[in-house]
């Protein structure tokens, strides 16, 4: 009963947490492509070329769609900070409105994946159980069983999904940024993508067992048994040992 009440409160909490994102995503229609073109020229064209046709340094953005731009810019991956194995997530350099302006500009150059609607990414409408099945078949080998992230080759990595917004998760699946393969609607239908989001949001609830220890599995558990378990008990041993005489 208590658990049920707990679950209800959490679902409600998640719903309210998600609502603002949906409000933002809706406003692509009100974005200004001309302003986006200005922003693009000033901030992106050095690498992506004027008119987003690409250069030796960076690919053409014609046809990548609004979803890709929104993903890269709102997570701070673009503009790219350094020539690292992969573009790092960092505090976004542009406001949501500016990102949408640029997204509208790129979308105007050629058709591509669109930013999902609020309903498409609403975790309350998805099935976490089906999402679990889909996630572990398609995503867990890089992103870890619950989306805590994992290593790839040569310094690349699959980032943690614990703090990503549902919209960003959806856009990533749709566009396949960097090393990630794209999951178009023929591979994962929009409903299935929503199930995956529902599963991932479910993982953010407090762990039933207590501190999650990073959800990293046996290695972190082993580290903590030495640090906490043996550490504390050796401390007690020394204390008991010193109490003899």
């Amino acid at each position: 009963m208590l658990l049920l009440a707990f679950a209800l409160v959490l679902v409600g909490g998640v719903y309210t947490a998600v609502t603002p994102t949906t409000a933002q995503a809706d406003s692509l229609a009100s974005a200004d492509p001309a302003k986006g073109a200005d922003l693009f020229r000033t901030n992106c064209s050095t690498c992506h070329g004027t008119g987003a046709v690409g250069s030796d340094l960076a690919p053409s953005l014609i046809g990548v769609g609004a979803a890709s731009v929104h993903f890269q810019v709102t997570t701070g991956r673009m503009p790219m900070q350094a020539n690292a194995p992969q573009a790092e997530e960092k505090p976004p350099q542009f406001s949501e409105a500016e990102a949408l302006d640029m997204a509208a500009y790129i979308a105007s150059l050629g058709p591509g994946p669109e930013i999902p609607t609020a309903e498409q990414v609403d975790p309350a409408l998805g099935s976490p159980a089906n999402g679990m099945l889909l996630f572990r078949t398609n995503c867990a080998m890089c992103h870890n069983a619950v989306g805590a992230g994992g290593a790839l080759s040569e310094g690349k990595y699959a980032p943690s999904l614990m703090d990503s917004t549902p919209t960003v998760i959806y856009e990533a699946m749709l566009t396949g940024p960097q090393s990630m393969p794209g999951f178009n609607d023929a591979i994962l239908s929009p409903e299935e993508k929503r199930d995956v989001i529902a599963f991932l949001i479910e993982q953010r609830e407090p762990q039933p067992g207590g501190l999650s220890l990073g959800s990293l599995g046996p290695v972190s558990e082993g580290l903590w048994v030495f640090v906490v378990g043996l550490g504390v008990l050796i401390g007690f041993s020394v204390w008991i040992g010193s109490r003899s005489s």
């Binding site: 572990r136 867990a140 310094g155 699959a158 762990q207 039933p208 067992g209 030495f226 008990l233 008991i240």
Partner: protein, 571 residues
């Protein structure tokens, strides 16, 4: 009636002896099983005292916690691989309606719907990790202090067997919930078994009752995990403790402590209180960990499916070294010879390497005995610095183990320290060969340096930091001489010398007994004991004192007698 008994009680309190219920029970037992003489002997048994002697107790108590929590878990766990669907109305929501084995379903259901079920599971798992961890630390203590020497070689082997059994207990228990991670572990076990030449595939079929995963393995693991292995461990625990009683506990070197006595406190009341209290501390810490720290959240991994593996899939820490050696091994050396596949890429890291490591660990007491030819009993422990080669070998062994642990968690090292996975793997491939050699050399030099420091302190006393000037202008630092208690610890140890091979033929032309093994033995002995620092002899102390230990100036020769090659034990 009440009045009489009340007056009787008041009479008893006037006479301050044991209360009647206690004395009555003791008397009852004494008349029937002779409890008094038994307790008299046990209660007065003397045990030496040191905090490091409690490490083994941590293992013992976590084992008791394992038994207690394990009994609870068997009440709710269903060891079956029959297919079921998780109830639609049961938590967690991520599992509702999913097809899974009964073993997995009962584990998840127990965690969410049995009162205290998750707590018990977590206590059990933390206790398992702590059990092996404390065993390993206890074994390190025994190794580095030389507690395995005669007469305790057999008890060392008993402990070693318990370590192996606890690894098996961990492996079988870890596989029971039938989640993806445990299934991955079983698949690796299957691969390792199959890599054994010729008999491998047949053995795999035997273990799994057919092709992996089959439907037999979990019931089989269950029987091993709750019946056979704990039974064996329990029997060995009894033997281990009996031998500790029988052979008496070792003691650290200290004033008045020799191989012929035991200096310490009686079992009752000192150790009864300490050990009893410590049990509750261990239980308390484990309960706290089980209560607040999540461990093996199997619903995160989901039910086993042979097609799946997630990032960060690793075994529990005590199996991580195997995972590490598999991750380090390049994949190429796999050969097909006349239709038979020889998978050296699995055989070497998963069978040969652990075989070598464990053989070294189990055989070490016998190796050392062979190179010292020491027949005497040893009840006083070594200070690790005084057995430089043993300490360095142990440190080198540990460095290999730690390299393997890091290799087993290379993906987490990569993400958490922003490194390249490939670079880590290559660095560790080199380090696993280079590091033990480097660690051996450095540790040995540190040990010998500490021994020299001991010599110097014994001969000249502690530095006080006071510099004095004499009337004629000479400066000297005042040294505080050691009291004889401290000196005992620093000079009391035995130093072995390399075994000498006698001449091939004696004066009468008779060949000496012994074969080619003697050559090997002496060269090993030379490896162990060629570099050594002799402890200070009474003569040297007398000489130093005659010199005036408080007035030794810098630059005066302080190495007299060091590295001499004559003389026997100095005590």
């Amino acid at each position: 009636m009440t009045e009489t008994s009340a007056s009787g009680r008041s009479a008893a309190t006037a006479d301050p002896i044991v209360p009647k219920p206690v004395s009555g029970t003791v008397d009852y037992l004494d008349q029937r099983v002779g409890a008094a003489s038994m307790i008299k002997g046990l209660a007065r048994k003397i045990f030496p005292d040191h905090w490091s002697f409690l490490l083994g107790e941590i293992a013992l108590y976590s084992f008791i916690v394992l038994l207690l929590s394990g009994i609870f878990l068997t009440m709710f766990f269903v060891p079956s691989m029959a297919e079921v669907h998780y109830p639609e109305d049961a938590l967690p929501v991520t599992m509702q309606g999913i097809e899974m084995s009964e073993a997995f379903a009962s584990t998840v259901y127990m965690s969410f719907h049995v009162r205290g079920g998750l707590l018990m599971r977590q206590i059990h798992h933390w206790a398992a990790l702590l059990f092996v961890a404390s065993m390993v630390i206890h074994m390190l203590r025994v190794f580095f202090t030389g507690a395995f020497r005669k007469p305790r070689e057999l008890n060392y082997l008993v402990g070693f067997s318990m370590l192996i059994l606890s690894l098996l207990a961990g492996l079988t228990g870890y596989s029971l919930p039938d989640d993806v991670l445990s299934g991955n572990g079983l698949r690796i076990t299957d691969g390792v078994v199959k890599s054994i030449p010729i008999i491998g595939s047949y053995m795999s079929y035997m273990v799994f009752g057919g092709e992996f995963p089959g439907t037999d393995v979990i019931p089989r693991m269950f029987t091993l995990h709750i019946l056979l292995i704990p039974g064996l461990i329990l029997a060995l625990v009894a033997l281990h403790l009996f031998l500790v009683f029988w052979q008496k506990h070792t003691q650290y070197p200290g004033p008045g402590r020799t191989d012929k006595n035991v200096v310490g406190y009686p079992l009752f009341p000192v150790y009864m209180a300490k050990a009893g209290g410590f049990f509750f501390i261990v239980f308390g810490v484990l309960a706290l960990m089980g209560g607040i720290m999540s461990i093996n959240a199997v619903w995160n991994y989901g039910p086993f499916d042979p097609a799946l593996v997630s990032a960060g899939a690793q075994p529990d820490w005590y199996m991580l070294f195997l995972e590490g050696s598999l991750r380090l091994m390049p994949g190429q050396p796999e050969f097909v010879i006349l239709g038979w596949t020889l998978s050296l890429n699995v055989l070497i890291p998963a069978v040969v390497l652990p075989g070598l490591l464990f053989t070294f660990l189990g055989a070490y007491p016998f190796i050392e005995r062979a190179v010292t030819k020491d027949m005497g009993e040893h009840h006083v422990l070594d200070r690790p610095r005084n057995t430089a080669t043993r300490t360095s070998l142990g440190a080198a062994f540990l460095s290999v183990f730690i390299v393997l642990l890091i290799a087993g968690s290379n993906d987490l090292v990569a993400t958490h320290f922003g490194l390249s996975l490939n670079a880590i793997t290559w660095a560790l491939r080199v380090l696993i060969f280079v590091l033990p050699v480097v660690v051996f050399i450095i540790t040995k030099r540190i040990c010998l340096a500490l021994q020299r420091k001991d010599r110097e302190v014994v001969l000249h006393g502690h530095e006080t930091g006071q510099v004095r000037r004499t009337a004629d202008g000479k400066f000297y630092e005042v040294h505080q001489p050691l009291d004889e208690y401290e000196r005992w610890i620093k000079v009391g140890h035995h130093v072995y010398r390399p075994l000498q091979l006698a001449a091939r033929e004696d004066a009468n032309g008779v060949r000496r007994p012994g074969g080619h093994l003697d050559n090997l033995r002496t060269s090993f002995s030379r490896f162990f004991y060629e570099d050594r620092v002799e402890p200070v002899t009474p003569t040297e102390i007398a000489a130093a004192h005659g010199n005036g230990h408080a007035e030794i100036t810098e630059g005066e020769p302080t190495h007299a007698g060091e590295l001499t090659s004559t003389g026997g034990t100095s005590r």
